[in-house]
C-alpha cells in the first residue's frame, strides 16, 4: 500500500502489534456506502442511503466483529484499552452519484438501481494493506432478478426478458443445450469455481479433491480466477487477508492446475493464498471466487445453433450439491432450436446433470465470449460476495430438462 500519512493506519498497525495480543491473526476495517433508487414506470420514486462501518478481529479460533469504526469499538474487539490505540481515519463516505440528474428515464422493466462503494484495510503484523474494489451498479428487475456490473456502466436491458403469454413447455429428458455466455458463466461457476474453493476441497465435499494435474474436462477449456480485472464486479487490489491480487489459473486446457485458497487452506492444498473474501465485516474471510475468465483453445467462430436442441440465454440461479455431485441450472430464458434457428420461447425449467457427466459433456466452445451480468452475487452458507465472469458460448450434452 502507498503510505497515507493522514490515515494513521500504519501507526495503528504498529500499536496493535506492540500489544502482543495472544493468537492475533489480523484486524479488518471496512466502510461501505450504498444508494438505492427505487423505480416505477421508468422513473425514480424514492432514494435510500446506507452507510456502514465496522471492524473485525481474528484470533486463533475466534472471530469477533462489531459495527463502528472508532478506537473504543476496535479496542473492545482487541480486549485492550482505547488509550493503547492512536487516532486513525478511514476515508469519508463519498457522495452518491447523481443518477437522477444524469440518467433520465430507465427501462420500465427495472424496479431499482443500486450503487455501492467500499473501502477496507487489513492490519497484520506491522503492516497495513488497503483493499480497493470497483464501485458496483446493480439493477433489480420487476420480476425480482438482479444483474451486476461495475459503476458507471449499468447492466444492459435483457431484450428477451418479457416472456410471451403462453410459453411452450420444454420436453423433459436428455437434451443437447447451447449456453449463451451468461448461462455458461453460471455453469462454470458451479462446476469449476465452487468445487475448487479450498474449504470445500478440504472438507471432502468437492468432486475435484485429489485430482490436481489430471484432465477433468473433456473440452480444452482454460479457466482462471482473476481479481485483477477491475472492470468486473469481483475485482480487488488485495484479498481480504491483505494478499496482493493476482490471477489464479484453475484449469489449463481442461487439466486441473490450481485451487482457491485463503491462508488457512493454502498450506494444506500446496498453493499460495490470495483468494480470501469477506461478505462483510461480520463474516470471516473464506476462499471465494472473484472473476472467472473462461477461454477455449479452439473456439468455434460462432454459436453452433444447428447442433443443439435448446438455447439457454440466461439462468436465474445455479446450484452444485457437493455430496451428490448434482449440478442444477434453473433456466429463466430459453428457446427451442430447429434447423439452427430459434423457434418457440420455452417456459422456465431446470437443467439437471452430474459433475461426472458434465466433465465429459462440454462438447465445444464458441465466440463471441462476453462479460456476463451473472452469476452476480454469489452465496455460500448465506454469505454473499460480488462476482464476475467472462465466458464463451458452450455446447453441452449430459444434462436433462426437468
Amino acid at each position: 500500500m502507498e503510505r497515507d500519512e493522514r490515515s494513521g493506519l500504519f501507526e495503528l498497525a504498529a500499536a496493535v502489534a506492540r500489544e502482543r495480543i495472544a493468537g492475533l491473526v489480523d484486524v479488518y476495517l471496512e466502510r461501505r456506502a450504498e444508494a438505492f433508487w427505487r423505480l416505477a414506470a421508468g422513473r425514480v420514486v424514492a432514494r435510500e442511503t446506507l452507510l456502514r462501518e465496522g471492524a473485525a478481529v481474528r484470533r486463533a479460533g475466534v472471530f469477533a466483529s462489531s459495527d463502528g469504526l472508532d478506537r473504543p469499538a476496535l479496542a473492545g474487539l482487541l480486549g485492550i484499552t482505547s488509550r493503547a490505540l492512536p487516532a486513525f481515519a478511514a476515508p469519508r463516505f463519498p457522495e452518491a452519484p447523481m443518477l437522477e440528474e444524469t440518467a433520465g428515464a430507465f427501462p420500465t422493466a427495472w424496479s431499482g438501481v443500486r450503487w455501492r462503494w467500499s473501502w477496507a484495510a487489513v492490519l497484520a503484523g506491522r503492516s497495513a494493506v488497503t483493499v480497493a474494489r470497483p464501485e458496483l451498479a446493480e439493477v433489480t428487475f420487476c420480476d425480482g432478478r438482479r444483474a451486476l456490473a461495475c459503476w458507471p456502466a449499468l447492466p444492459a436491458p435483457d431484450s428477451d426478458a418479457r416472456p410471451p403469454a403462453a410459453p411452450t413447455v420444454a420436453r423433459p429428458g436428455p437434451t443437447r443445450a447451447l449456453l449463451a455466455p451468461a448461462a455458461a458463466a453460471v455453469l462454470v461457476h458451479e462446476l469449476i469455481g465452487h468445487p475448487l474453493e479450498g474449504d470445500l476441497l478440504l472438507r471432502g465435499g468437492s468432486p475435484w479433491a485429489g485430482r490436481g494435474g489430471q484432465r477433468i474436462l473433456h473440452a480444452a477449456l482454460s479457466v482462471a480466477d482473476d481479481p485483477t480485472r477491475g472492470d468486473l464486479p469481483g475485482g480487488f487490489s488485495a484479498d481480504d487477508e491483505g494478499a496482493a491480487a493476482a490471477p489464479r489459473p484453475l484449469l489449463a486446457g481442461g487439466v486441473l492446475v490450481g485451487a482457491l485458497a485463503d491462508r488457512r487452506t493454502a498450506e494444506a492444498l500446496g498453493v499460495r493464498p490470495g483468494n480470501a473474501r469477506r461478505a462483510g465485516v461480520h463474516a470471516p474471510p473464506r476462499p471465494r471466487i472473484s472473476n472467472l475468465i473462461v477461454e477455449a483453445a479452439a473456439a468455434l467462430p460462432q454459436p453452433p445453433r444447428g447442433d443443439a436442441a435448446v438455447e439457454v440465454v440466461s439462468v436465474s440461479s445455479g446450484t452444485l450439491e457437493p455430496a451428490s455431485g448434482a449440478v442444477l441450472l434453473h433456466v429463466r430464458t430459453a428457446f427451442a432450436l430447429r434447423g439452427g434457428s430459434r423457434r418457440q420461447r420455452l417456459a422456465p425449467f431446470t437443467l439437471v446433470g452430474t459433475v461426472a457427466r458434465l466433465a465429459r459433456g462440454i462438447l465445444a466452445a464458441a465466440e463471441p465470449a462476453a462479460a456476463a451480468p451473472e452469476p452476480g452475487w454469489c452465496g455460500k452458507d448465506g454469505e454473499f460476495v460480488p462476482t464476475g465472469a467472462v465466458a464463451p458460448w458452450l455446447l453441452l450434452e449430459g444434462m436433462e430438462i426437468r
Binding site: R47, L50, V62, S65, D143, P284, P348
Partner: protein, 431 residues
C-alpha cells in the same frame, strides 16, 4: 437490558436532535443485535464467532417530500449520520409515516440477554457427543450453533417511543451418510435452553438414515406429506406471495384445511414482538382461514392506497425501510392429526422427510421447486425409499391442495419465523 437500552436511546436522541429543527415529520429506529456462532468441524475443531451489530434508520417526510437513510456505528454518531443522510435523500413522495394516533405496543419488552457462548459451546459438544454414539455409519460433517439477542427502539418526532427485544437459538447439522447425499438439519427455538440435545441428535440420526439408497421415482401426480422442515419454506414463500402478488390470489380455490396466521404478538410461534416495523401494536393477522384468503399484509402507506388494514410491516434489520411481510407465521392444524392418521390418508404417495437444498421460487410465475429425501407410501404404509425426489408446482395450487395437517409443529428461523406441522397435499407433481 439497561446497557442496550442506553445505547439505543442515545442513538435515537442524537437522530432526533439532528432532525428536530428541520421542519419534517420523522421516525428513528435503532437496533442492536448480538450473536455468538460456533462451527464444529468433522475433526472436532471449533471456530467461534462473536458479532455485534448496531444501526439507526431514519424516515423523514415534509412538504410533499420523503426520504430514508440508515447508518451503522458504535453509538450516537450513527443516529446523526442516519438523520443527515435521510434529509439528503428527500424527494417528491407521499408521506409514508403513520399518524401518531395509530402507534402503540401490545406488550412490554422482555429483558435483553447477551448470548451465552459457553452455554452454546456445551450444547454443541453434547449434541456432537450424543450423535456420535452408536454404530450408525453417519458422519457429522459440520455442526453449527447460533444464539442471538436483539433489542430495538423506535421514536417519532411526535413523541412516540417503544422498545422491544427478542432472542433465538439455532442448531444446524450437516450429516454424511455412508452412501447417498449429505443431509442438512435445522432446529430453532426461542432460547438455548429450549433445544434438547438428546432429541436433536436422535431425530437427526433417524432422519439421515431414512432414505440413503433407492431409485428416483417416476414422474407423477401424487399425494404428498411434507414434514415440517420441508413445509416451512413453502409456507414462508406462500405468505410472501400473498403479500406481494400483483393480482389477488384470493381468486384461487382455497382449501378449508388451511389456517395460516401471522401471530405477531404471540404467544405462538418463534418470534413474537409487541409492535410492527412501523410502531403499530402487534396483532394476530389471519392470512388464510375458512376456505379463503383473508387479510393481506400491509404497511400503513400500502393500506392507505389499498383500503386495507395496516400493521403488517416488518423490519428484518435497520438497513431497510419497513416493508409489508410476514413476521411470525403459524400454521394452525384444525384438527391436528397423528402421524399415523396422516399416513393412513395416503393411498399412493410420498412422505417428504428431509429437505435437500433451498426451495426455488420463481417470483414472476409463483412456481416452486424443492428437493427432499422421501419415502413412498402405499396404502398408508412405507413402501420404498428415495434419496432425492423433486416436488414442483405453483403456490396457487398449494392453496387448494391441502387436505390435512399433523400435530407435530416445529419452528424454523427462515426469512421470517415459521411454525408448521406436517402438511398433507393432494396431487402434487413429483419429478
Amino acid at each position: 437490558m439497561r446497557a442496550a437500552a442506553d445505547l439505543l436511546l442515545a442513538a435515537l436522541h442524537s437522530a432526533a436532535e439532528a432532525l428536530s429543527g428541520c421542519g419534517v415529520r420523522f421516525e428513528a429506529f435503532a437496533r442492536l443485535g448480538e450473536s455468538v456462532h460456533l462451527h464444529r468441524e468433522r475433526d472436532g475443531s471449533l471456530e467461534r464467532r462473536l458479532s455485534r451489530e448496531f444501526g439507526v434508520a431514519c424516515r423523514v417526510a415534509g412538504d410533499g417530500r420523503a426520504g430514508f437513510a440508515a447508518a451503522s456505528g458504535s453509538g450516537a454518531r450513527a443516529g446523526r449520520d442516519a438523520a443527515r443522510a435521510a434529509m439528503a435523500t428527500m424527494r417528491p413522495a407521499p408521506d409514508p409515516l403513520p399518524p401518531r394516533s395509530l402507534l402503540g405496543s401490545s406488550g412490554t419488552a422482555l429483558p435483553f440477554q447477551t448470548p451465552d457462548l459457553e452455554r452454546l459451546a456445551a450444547l454443541v459438544e453434547e449434541v456432537a457427543g450424543r450423535f456420535a454414539a452408536g454404530n450408525h455409519g453417519l458422519a457429522l460433517v459440520q455442526l453449527r450453533g447460533l444464539a442471538g439477542s436483539s433489542a430495538a427502539a423506535l421514536a417519532t418526532g411526535e413523541g412516540f417511543h417503544a422498545v422491544a427485544s427478542a432472542g433465538g437459538a439455532v442448531l444446524e447439522l450437516l450429516v454424511a451418510p455412508s452412501e447417498g447425499p449429505w443431509r442438512h438439519f435445522h432446529f430453532a427455538a426461542p432460547a438455548l435452553a429450549d433445544l434438547d440435545p438428546a432429541a436433536v441428535a436422535e431425530r437427526t440420526r433417524e432422519a439421515a438414515l431414512l432414505a440413503t439408497r433407492g431409485r428416483p421415482p417416476e414422474r407423477q401426480l401424487a399425494d404428498v406429506i411434507l414434514a415440517p422442515a420441508v413445509a416451512a419454506p413453502l409456507v414462508a414463500a406462500l405468505a410472501q406471495r400473498l403479500t406481494a402478488a400483483a393480482e389477488p390470489l384470493g381468486a384461487a380455490r382455497v382449501s378449508r384445511a388451511w389456517r395460516l396466521v401471522d401471530d405477531r404478538p404471540g404467544p405462538a410461534g418463534l418470534l413474537p414482538l409487541p409492535w410492527d416495523g412501523e410502531g403499530l401494536p402487534a396483532r394476530r393477522i389471519e392470512l388464510i382461514a375458512g376456505g379463503e384468503v383473508r387479510e393481506r399484509l400491509a404497511t400503513w402507506a400500502d393500506a392507505e392506497r389499498s383500503g386495507g388494514a395496516p400493521g403488517g410491516a416488518v423490519r428484518p434489520s435497520y438497513r431497510h425501510p419497513p416493508r409489508a411481510g410476514p413476521a411470525n407465521l403459524v400454521v394452525l392444524p384444525e384438527p391436528a392429526l397423528q402421524q399415523s392418521e396422516l399416513l393412513a390418508r395416503v393411498e399412493h404417495g410420498f412422505y417428504l422427510a428431509v429437505p435437500a437444498g433451498a426451495v426455488q421460487v420463481d417470483a414472476a410465475s409463483g412456481r416452486f421447486e424443492l428437493r427432499a429425501a422421501a419415502v413412498a407410501v402405499r396404502h398408508g404404509k412405507p413402501a420404498a425409499a428415495h434419496p432425492l425426489v423433486t416436488l414442483r408446482g405453483s403456490l396457487r395450487r398449494l392453496l387448494g391442495a391441502l387436505v390435512a395437517a399433523g400435530g407435530d409443529s416445529e419452528s424454523f428461523s427462515l426469512a421470517c419465523a415459521v411454525t408448521t406441522p406436517s402438511l398433507l397435499f393432494r396431487r402434487l407433481e413429483i419429478a
